[in-house]
Symmetry: C3
Subunit: 143 residues, 3 copies
């Protein structure tokens, strides 16, 4: 069997005021190609405490529905202790991001992400301003 190798790189995406999200599936696929890894596992982690990563069917309806659900879970209008101390207005952003979580692990099979046909990886910005988001990607597997 071929020896296991590790490849790592990062992706940068520009996102609007949260909750905003973008499809990073093509970027992840590009890194798999660059890595030459055929089979293994890909971990993607967003850097920063007001971002998150998950998978969805990336079509405008689901994107809007998920934004609304995120706003319901930690709405902007209620009182946050974080804001009482820091006055930066993003208490809800921190809570939303922590609940969704910063990372996903995805299967790499035959040099491709093994996802459903209607399943895409997304990075979400929860901050109360536009942000450039960095996603660290680590791919472990065999050539």
């Amino acid at each position: 069997m071929n020896p296991v190798s590790i490849f790592f790189d990062s992706i940068e995406v520009d996102l609007k005021t949260g909750p905003d999200m973008c499809d990073i599936t093509h970027d992840l696929t590009r890194l798999i190609n660059k890595s030459k890894i055929k089979n293994g596992s890909l971990c993607a982690t967003v850097v920063g405490s007001t971002g998150s990563i998950t998978t969805i069917e990336y079509e405008p309806g689901v994107v809007e529905d998920l934004k609304r659900a995120i706003d319901r879970i930690a709405p902007q209008g209620i009182e946050y202790e974080h804001e009482l101390a820091w006055h930066d207005g993003n208490g809800h952003s921190h809570v939303q991001a922590a609940l969704l979580g910063p990372s996903i692990a995805l299967p790499v099979r035959n040099s491709q992400l093994r996802l459903g046909t209607w399943q895409q990886a997304v990075c979400i910005n929860h901050d109360n301003k536009s942000r450039s988001r960095s996603i660290e990607v680590t791919i472990t597997g065999t050539n």
Copy 2:
């Protein structure tokens, strides 16, 4: 030290209309045995945008409680943009699955999953119909 190796395989489970879930711990343990990997990490990812994976105490009470909580977070009765466009009635399924997330990473120690005594890995179907769910499993570690 023994060299690191990678093993990958998949599990198929049949689930009813969501939210429905099943215990996949024994399937994961079977794959660890098949892999011959003694120590390392196991990543399990559900294929499809209306499924999710997590861990719970798999007893009928908690299963029912988690189903109810999932329904509270994204209820079936409210308006979803996804349904306005696609009319397939599963807007809530997409939102629920995205919030829970598609993947978990679990420790492999001494050829076994290191989980709590009352902690099991579960795959959840959120779709509004019964589904056969595929879970991709990647195990990285040493023999």
Copy 3:
């Protein structure tokens, strides 16, 4: 390229009645140093079905805000089927932990965790009593 190696160890933390949480970033960094791994991926998984792991800005305001959000998602006062059978009063704990999830995957770069400046890894106890929590850590990468 250096061969890939795997390192594993565990962390113990003492937490109060849930939701309570603590910063485990320094413990994870200590294990990265111990592992001698420079670049790769770290998986951290809490053992037990009433614990969870995520990342937040670990300051008292966000900690309090996240606790409140966790209590809103699965409040202690409502009826849980788990309690009808087991009478241990922690039905909410199981639901909360399952929704947040037991594991995260974090990037290791230049022998350090690559997180945001204000982003820390936390372990959360959701149980209705103080608990000593064990977190299994697996680091995969190259020296």
